[in-house]
Symmetry: C2
Subunit: 601 residues, 2 copies
């Protein structure tokens, strides 16, 4: 296993050349940090990934969790690995000092997480979900709830889950039916079935804290009648000692195509009269709380997808550099030595595509992390508000683009390895399976596209749309200032014209045409916007690379920047032009799918 | 499991409306047959699929073959299923009567195989490879070899394999190193290692006949020094009794992402001095023989890919018809009942895409089967030659298009099911995994694209190219004659102009530019040609559907034909326009990948 998980030079480039993360240390929250401490944390993550997760990656995939009717069984190597991770403090890297955190910027934690995700896959989910659960409780729970549940979650003694999906309510949370009835002691009795609950049962921790969406008896229908509850696996006394088992039963495990390190469970609440639950915040505001953290979760999904794309790219690159096979078309001499497959144009195409997808996606999700930081810690209120606007607008794209193009990158990784890519001696087929969940969970691609087109674009008089367009325009100006990039800057400017024209058309149509028809191609709109965002991010990288190449550089540095320019060129030549076709479908209100009668299939 | 494997109405349409298979019965070879016997065989295949393979499909996937160091273990239900299949005679459906065959047309056998593939996946491979092995031996082996090996293969007593790939020679067969040394008794001693040998070891049959490519000592380098040998697992006496084990050892099993019903093995020949092998045909002509059957194998790969695409389409269609979730964007009332997800425009898009891909691919591979029949049994020599020309030209497309778009169809099937598509309670994630092998084996997509652009297009003064263009032109004329189809016929005519312009450009460039650069985007050329072929096939279907709709029809029939028209429309609106982008890359000789320096990654 000689392939690096990530090109460390690219991480330096993204953090310190593209995003200027070092300047974050000027902010009060990060005043104890500097580039050295940032890199130390990243390095620690890399070491834990190397030492504890890479060696068991294959086993976690092959020996998925089993349920014997009583208990869930996981491979025994998992707990020590998760313990090592917990001990490093990385799961709480971004949390406040007072909650045992390191007060690190989210962008640094995201990079640390990328290494861990490539090596540990969904095994990291146990830890990440626990952190997310604690964050939500801390933001919206009462002091009492925080005291009782957040502390052991942060310490890694308890694990956390999110229990939303039900057999009859997946994408449509409005229709969930789990009920809550108030008891005399102000707790609630929870009854209902939840499915696809990641980490829903296991023996890794003393206790599991489920955050459960349920409807209090008599609450309004739809999304406005949903409340959020803490429902622990074991009840806990006031002195913190673990009490008897709550009325939560494991109904079964799902066997997934990928992400096999983490249990996916069906949980049954209240089979024996009602599981004890504690209301988080106010009644009927559960979905609001959940959505607050859902944005975080969506950036997280995009980040995982980007990391797995990077992992596959690096692995297949290493393979292509070391696997001799065949000769170039121009060579007709069978006595000549074979070339390494990286010399073949089509292998280079599949590697360039992966580089363009994976490094573009990684830059995008790091931007997402930076914006989530800026909205809280930027110097001015104006800057905070601006970051909030951009993040809110970009979230469906940050979630979706890496989730759609990450699997495509992994598909190319398999193809680069050929037959060897199809067997589990190499991790690329696992990456491909793991990554396939990402366009589904935390809001499918279609859900994200409706969020973008029907909500985010028109919202606040197009505030978010205008804000991101202004960013594009700045980068176009920078690109135009560099003669070798002017053609690409112009191409992006043309793409913006197309985007504006398409958007104007659709917004007008929303007022005059059948809304179901106008939104029928929303996924194409998201595809178009996503490709433009990634083109913008690549142009930003190219501006930096071009400037760097004007200096005297070590050959390795020259090669690195040249690679950035070539990947940008790949994206502009092979990918960006597709938006014209998507725009055409949108601006003609193509009704092929809308008019398709369900009886005609 | 209420979903049909295939829409039987579509099979009738393809066989008896699109391809006029009934008229085959006028050919002498098929004189004993009529539509009834055709349908009986298809029905038998469907029944075997239903009864013997569907019930064990999931188990075959979950309990992949294991190797305890001595023996391979398969689930016990597999042998009775394969025995039932063998007993039905379907594996030899197309063989001559004198070899226990049914003398059925390949197009009928292909449909029978589609049902079996959807239900049995690669379990069918044991049988299909055995048939292919027997066909090759029968075509190129001596009378002696045929007598000794083909008979028990046809009877299902022996199994057959093809042993080509080596650890150092996958796509580049020219570099294979397995050696053969002639013994005194005219047999050979074979020494070398083979990998990815499907069905390479198991206990399902009395014996296994490996067809092994090897280089006779002193043979020329490259592809011109390769010979083909029969190397049995057990030696066989002249009286047909099984003798001692040959020097062939199972070195290990590969664990594949999909296609898990069939063992994929590493075989070691000659560890104890040399495995006994018998030369097939003449020395150094092995690759030629293998290629003879490779064309058949390539149509077979495309057929498998198309079948799995159809299976996923039908399954997800059934799911979408029965799964309530959410409401249309125009409905804001949470009290209104949920709709079945098939009502959502984006679900319809993903189903239409699957229909366009899957039924388009199925029509294409049936055309391949029909051409392989026509080249042998058509009425005139001219018709035979014409069929040969078309099949030879189309083979890279028949292999590749279904292999590339079948997995895309399965990807949509997963997305239609959402989280449920990601777990193994439903077969769509298995289809997705199974289908992913198809762009790799029997010549990768890149290999096929080089075959098309560098060989098939210029060959024989562009005979094949001109022949298929003439077919397109006929269908355009038929489309133009129907006013409701004229726009699509024009769109296809424009696509042909683009294709001709692109092809002319490339052929000229081959004479003047660096050949490695000219071929750098060969995959884009194959993509373009493939999309045009599928557009042509859809227009052919639309012409028939439009004519049918002029008659008075039962409502079900009307709906069926409307669906055909809408799927055609989908392909023309959403897919065909992509060729313009591919053409641009080709006609500008885009050098992005070619110029990418391997050190820049």
């Amino acid at each position: 296993m000689t392939a690096p998980m990530i090109n460390a030079r690219d991480i330096d480039f993204l953090l310190y050349e593209l995003f200027d993360s070092e300047s974050l240390c000027n902010r009060q929250r990060y005043q104890d940090h500097d580039r050295t401490t940032f890199n130390e944390v990243i390095n620690t993550a890399k070491q834990i990934a190397d030492k504890h997760f890479l060696p068991i990656r294959n086993k976690l995939d092959n020996q998925q969790p089993t349920f014997d009717g009583k208990k869930v069984h996981l491979i025994k190597e998992l707990k020590p690995a998760l313990d090592a991770l917990q001990e490093s403090g990385i799961p709480s890297a971004t949390a406040d000092y007072e909650f045992n955190g390191m007060q690190l910027p989210p962008i640094i934690a995201n990079v640390a997480g990328a290494y861990l995700t490539i090596a540990g896959g969904t095994a990291l989910g146990y830890s990440m979900l626990t952190t997310a659960n604690a964050n939500l409780l801390q933001a919206h729970g009462s002091k009492e709830l925080i005291e009782k549940w957040v502390k052991p979650l942060r310490e890694g003694r308890y694990a956390g889950t999110m229990a939303m999906t039900e057999p009859g309510a997946g994408s449509g949370l409005a229709d969930l039916t789990t009920t809550a009835i108030k008891s005399e002691d102000d707790s609630y009795k929870i009854t209902g079935n939840k499915i696809f609950i990641s980490g829903g049962d296991h023996d890794l921790n003393e206790n599991i804290v489920h955050l459960v969406l349920a409807r209090i008896k008599g609450a309004p229908k739809g999304t406005k009648g949903i409340s959020l509850f803490v429902v622990p696996k074991f009840l806990v006394s006031d002195d913190g000692s673990i009490g008897k088992q709550n009325d939560v039963a494991l109904a079964g495990l799902f066997h997934k195509m990928g992400g096999r390190a983490q249990t996916s469970t069906a949980l049954s609440f209240g089979e024996k009269g009602g599981a004890v639950g504690y209301l988080v915040g106010e009644e009927n505001k559960g979905l609001q709380y959940m959505f607050h953290m859902m944005n975080e979760a969506r950036v997280m999904v995009g980040s995982g997808a980007a990391a797995i794309a990077v992992g596959g790219f690096q692995y297949s690159l290493d393979y292509a550099n070391n696997r001799p096979q065949g000769r170039l078309p121009s060579c007709k001499d069978p006595h000549s030595p074979m070339v390494n497959i990286i010399e073949h144009a089509d292998i280079k195409r599949m590697l360039l595509a992966q580089k363009a997808y994976a490094e573009g996606a990684l830059a995008l999700v790091l931007l997402g992390s930076q914006l989530s930081d800026d909205e809280k810690t930027a110097e001015t209120d104006e800057a905070k508000a601006h970051a909030h606007t951009l993040l809110d607008f970009l979230t469906p794209i940050i979630k979706t683009w890496p989730s759609e193009y990450g699997p495509k990158a992994n598909d190319f990784a398999i193809q680069v390895l050929g037959g060897h890519g199809y067997i589990n001696e190499h991790p690329v087929e696992m990456f491909y399976r793991d990554n396939r969940l990402n366009p589904i969970h935390e809001g499918t691609t279609c859900i994200q596209s409706l969020d973008l087109l029907a909500r985010k674009v028109p919202m606040n008089n197009m505030l978010g749309y205008k804000a991101i367009l202004a960013e594009f325009t700045k980068t176009i100006a920078a690109g135009n200032a560099e003669p070798s990039l002017a053609a690409y800057a112009n191409q992006l400017a043309e793409a913006l014209t197309t985007l504006n024209k398409t958007t104007d058309f659709l917004l007008k149509a929303m007022g005059t045409e059948n809304i179901d028809l106008v939104l029928a191609n929303s996924v194409q709109y998201l595809s178009m916007f996503g490709h433009i965002v990634i083109s913008w991010i690549w142009l930003k990288q190219a501006v930096i690379a071009s400037a760097a190449l004007k200096e005297e550089l070590h050959i390795n540095e020259q090669q690195f920047y040249r690679g950035k320019l070539q990947a940008m060129q790949y994206f502009y030549r092979y990918e960006l032009p597709q938006i014209n076709h998507w725009s055409l479908l949108l601006t003609t209100l193509d009704d092929t799918t809308y008019q398709m009668n369900t009886d005609w299939f």
